[in-house]
Symmetry: C2
Subunit: 470 residues, 2 copies
């Protein structure tokens, strides 16, 4: 746990002192604090694409803390006959009810990045009443939308349902996936294609929680809950019931190396750097949400989130200025080559990337495919550098696609075609919650603009690489 | 198209006269009309489980007609640089943008039942601006939540995006699935298990629509849209671009046979039967929503919806009274038998069913598994009859599970265990929209109450039948 374990942070420090000077923390709105983050990334918060970003981010954070479980459940308890005691268990008096495969998203309390959840909830009705099935999902959703780690989320959902429904018992199992970083930025020799498994390479964990009759050693209800999940191919055998706080990949970051200026000894009292202002802003956001900053799990969170964000700091460099490194490229990797008219069409496919959506401050990630006219193969790592350069900032996919095309076209001037395929976490975790959707964008320059056969050949090459495992 | 084609209905009749006496239609709220439907099904609209059903149904219908496309899109148009004319197509000046695999639900205008949609939207930006990606999905959702048939929905989404974004062109492809009925009630010899493919046996169609540059014969954009979909395994080769209004399975119903009293000659002026009151109520609901009842596609809709609903009319019979038909059972189908202690445990699995959720007036469908102690196999069709009897009404899954257990226990008194697995269209299409979720419920009576090994054996048998395609 890096900095958190070696006593550099003192748990006795009052929460108010963590983010910066005493009086600063907690003043201003979440929107104001998000603007501090945008400025820290070298951006102008007033430019068109960013103007409403603070509002969107603040809304997403607040929504999870506004809803109350009682409001949701109290109107959805329905009287339902059960069986006489001794006859059996069914209906409103016993008889397991399980809702499987509820898609959720939550925010990792260690790094503030979203993580993906398949949630399975079971309960045993008692008192001759049952709860509307959708409420099991709604209650899980409330707790998911807060800062969480998997085991804590499972426990909170479990207890909230137990206390609001008063059944004989509740069981919750969560399968969770966390984006892996900073590895996500490295060139992956075996990138997963978004169409097959977007979760490949993510950190995975399974956690369980239970109350009441599910904890009774003489009851087999837990086994039956598990049995009903197995009918959908869900196996809990790897489920841990203890806390696995260190599942977040950011816990392995050595924060003192990355941010020498934020260790306790030289914490920003007086010297307020841009990054420490960002750390203070994140601390203030957490406090505005009512989170307890003295909770040890949250100690490093502002630093880790800022560390993540700083990967996307705006650079004033233009890639065209660094063109010389590309011209010196001379190695070659395997290239799918086509001969078409007088020129050779090449394609270099499946460059992984992770960008940050400028509208929601959330990652979008996927692969870039590049087709080009050239008289020979070119260095794949040069293209990967271009992808990395344009992805690692606050972006929109349309612009990323255009910028990569322009950069490649600057030294492959016969013709370039770029296809970007991405999963947008904002499309999945916020608002519309369209799990499974993905976005593809195209840009064409030079010969590709007029040559539809060339475009079709590149699309065909991408399709083949997808089918054979890219 | 049955009654609609033989001139029994006159398109010149003013809309107001279709549902009943002139003055009746359009008076009262949608909630009032839903209460008429509940009464027509033999239910008491004031009983606890139904009290809020009119409110829920009315909200679901109204929601789709309240939102305006302009409100959604106008705040989400972002300036985005493009390429100089002639250089290429990318960013805010050309360059295809496609969002694939958007899950939607819509309401069939022919029968008012929901149908499931995978929606794919593409557009080519122009005027140096792009639209927020999630808005493509939101606009599609607005039109989906209205009464639709697939081609009309594709056209409306296409034109709404064209008019609100003003891009170079828009393309929409929809893959649609419609529940098949009344076959859904028949005992299916090869029932699909909800964990594998819940859409097996549904009516399927694919439709496309496009505007602007996608319709240009000299452009290959449509091929490229299709090419980007193929990267996700989506094939449009079977897509029709003409209207396929007759895709709804209810169009093959002969309404005059089912409801002799609703042909024009004896339409309810004076003689108001329960069913014609229901037809008038549905007509009033459609009119309240602003639908044009003189549109020929809607002519038979109230009749068809009432016909569907009447499958779920409450029966005052108790299945125990019809027990004699079960005792006379003597044939046998393949049974998975286990010897356990002194009794034989049998399981009869995968009885298909379709019930109507009493909270939302929407189908929930799936399979029932029954385990029992008995000294030999029993007639599978008797068990199917029990499942059918209790499923075909306004139900909740917990009660259905208990009632099947009690009915089977009344003649297999050593012990019965019932597992019901179902997909609830209300969980998928309304409110929380948890696509992919499924609900499992259990009931135990007699020996199964105390014998956890017996319960485990039945769950194991279900699991094996799922794995082997049973």
């Amino acid at each position: 746990m890096g900095a958190l374990e070696d006593g550099r942070f003192d748990p006795e420090i009052p929460a108010i002192a963590i983010g910066g000077k005493g009086g600063e923390l907690g003043t201003g709105t979440i929107e104001d604090h998000v603007r501090v983050l945008l400025k820290g990334l070298g951006e102008d918060p007033e430019r068109e694409g960013l103007r409403k970003t603070p509002m969107r981010v603040a809304k997403a954070f607040r929504d999870g803390y506004r809803q109350k479980v009682k409001d949701i459940v109290q109107d959805a308890l329905f009287p339902e006959a059960g069986l006489d005691n001794g006859t059996g268990q069914a209906g409103g008096a016993g008889g397991l009810v399980v809702v499987r495969d509820i898609n959720l998203f939550s925010f990792c309390e260690s790094c503030l990045l979203p993580f993906s959840i398949q949630c399975h909830v079971g309960y045993v009705p008692s008192g001759k009443r049952v709860v509307g099935l959708s409420k099991l999902s709604r209650v899980a959703d409330i707790y998911a939308k807060r800062l969480q780690e998997p085991k804590r989320l499972a426990d909170e959902v479990c207890w909230a349902l137990q206390n609001s429904i008063n059944p004989a018992g509740v069981s919750v199992a969560l399968q969770c996936w966390h984006i892996r970083f900073p590895e996500v930025f490295k060139c992956n020799p075996n990138p997963s294609h978004p169409s097959r498994s977007t979760m490949q390479g993510w950190v995975r964990t399974t956690v369980c929680s239970s109350t009441g009759i599910f904890n009774d050693k003489n009851s087999s209800l837990w086994d039956e809950f598990h049995g009903l999940l197995k009918l959908r191919g869900i196996n809990l055998s790897d489920a841990g019931c203890s806390s696995i706080h260190s599942w977040c990949p950011s816990m392995s970051l050595d924060l003192t190396e990355c941010h020498g200026n934020i260790s306790r000894s030289n914490f920003p009292i007086g010297k307020v750097s841009s990054q420490s202002a960002m750390v203070a802003a994140v601390s203030s956001i957490l406090q505005s949400l009512g989170e307890d900053l003295s909770r040890k799990e949250l100690f490093g969170t502002p630093y880790r989130y800022v560390h993540w964000l700083m990967n996307f700091r705006r650079s004033n460099l233009d890639f065209k200025q660094t063109k010389f490194t590309i011209n010196s490229a001379h190695s070659c990797e395997k290239v799918n080559g086509y001969i078409h008219s007088k020129d050779e069409i090449h394609s270099e496919l499946n460059f992984p990337f992770c960008a940050q959506c400028e509208h929601h401050l959330l990652p979008f990630h996927g692969v870039v495919h590049i087709g080009f006219f050239h008289d020979g193969p070119i260095d794949r790592s040069a293209l990967q550098s271009i992808v990395h350069f344009y992805a690692c900032k606050l972006q929109v996919q349309e612009r990323l696609t255009r910028q990569i095309a322009e950069a490649v076209y600057s030294f492959l001037a016969k013709g370039v075609m770029v296809v970007v395929e991405a999963n947008h976490i904002c499309m999945i975790s916020r608002g519309i919650e369209k799990v499974g959707s993905s976005t593809a964008t195209m840009a064409m320059m030079g010969q590709f603009t007029t040559d539809s056969t060339a475009r079709a050949l590149v699309l065909e090459a991408i399709s083949m690489s997808t089918a054979t495992g890219g």
